[in-house]
Symmetry: C2
DNA sequence: CTAAACCTTGACGTTGACGTCAAAGTCAAA
DNA sequence: TTTGACTTTGACGTCAACGTCAAGGTTTAG
């Protein structure tokens, strides 16, 4: 498929997909015309990239991690010790992020609930 | 206290603290000389700012939320409906972020554990 | 064959939370 | 009063993951 279809199917802009290729996250075939040709498996691949990006990993590390995940979703072992250490550091960072998010989430909850207890809320409706 | 002490006590750079003031998150007194004078309560205030920043809130929203939290840590109600809606949107965004982080965390875990099962790890030492 | 809808590379712009100078004024201890 | 550590404002730099535009080739339905 061409880049537009992959974009529609993943929700990632064509600019984003070209950027991913530039960063070594995608390796599409090329037609004689220069058009990129993506495989079906790239749809899942892009989705995995999105998950890791959303988790705060940068493209460099994602480029290292992706080869550990096959097209079928199976998990392979990291290829070197250095990468394994990177992954563990990243996992710890993510654990901290999760904890921090929970703390902030409780902060907001407390404020929001304080507001909901107020009598000045005169509508009994469910919020839209 | 001056800005340097607040910086040391919070771990936030002086540049960062000046930026917070610029964004309306801090309102230090000023000496005749122009030097900022911070109060004890600003230490906790900066820590709350850090928590919310780490959670992905931007300084504009934090400036709205901070007045809902007193120096003693008590929670006040949000001052207007619009802000309450902002907070709920932000809370939902944080919930999604937490879920996304968990998914990515499990991804990394799977890869890391795949590596630990390999026999090629010949050292029985704890990793440094 | 033509027109619309696609694709290419290249290059500059955006955003937020700061980092990093520079030039100059201030504080406080000895 | 000197000196060194501290502070001020101002302004430009950074970084990552894209957005956005331009000028031009490609594909394919009709």
């Amino acid at each position: 498929m061409f880049i537009g279809e992959l974009s529609r199917r993943t929700g990632v802009s064509t600019r984003g997909l070209r950027y991913y290729e530039e960063q070594g996250l995608l390796h599409p075939q090329r037609r004689a015309s220069g058009y990129r040709e993506f495989a079906e498996a790239d749809v899942d691949r892009v989705r995995r990239v999105r998950v890791l990006l959303a988790a705060g990993l940068n493209t460099d590390l994602i480029a290292e991690v992706l080869p550990c995940m096959t097209d079928t979703g199976a998990i392979l072992a990291p290829t070197c010790e250095e990468m394994a250490r990177d992954l563990e550091r990243e996992r710890e960072r993510m654990s901290r992020s999760i904890d921090e998010l929970k703390v902030a989430h409780e902060m907001l909850d407390a404020i929001i609930h304080a507001g909901e207890l107020l009598p000045e809320r005169r509508d009994g409706e469910a919020h839209r």
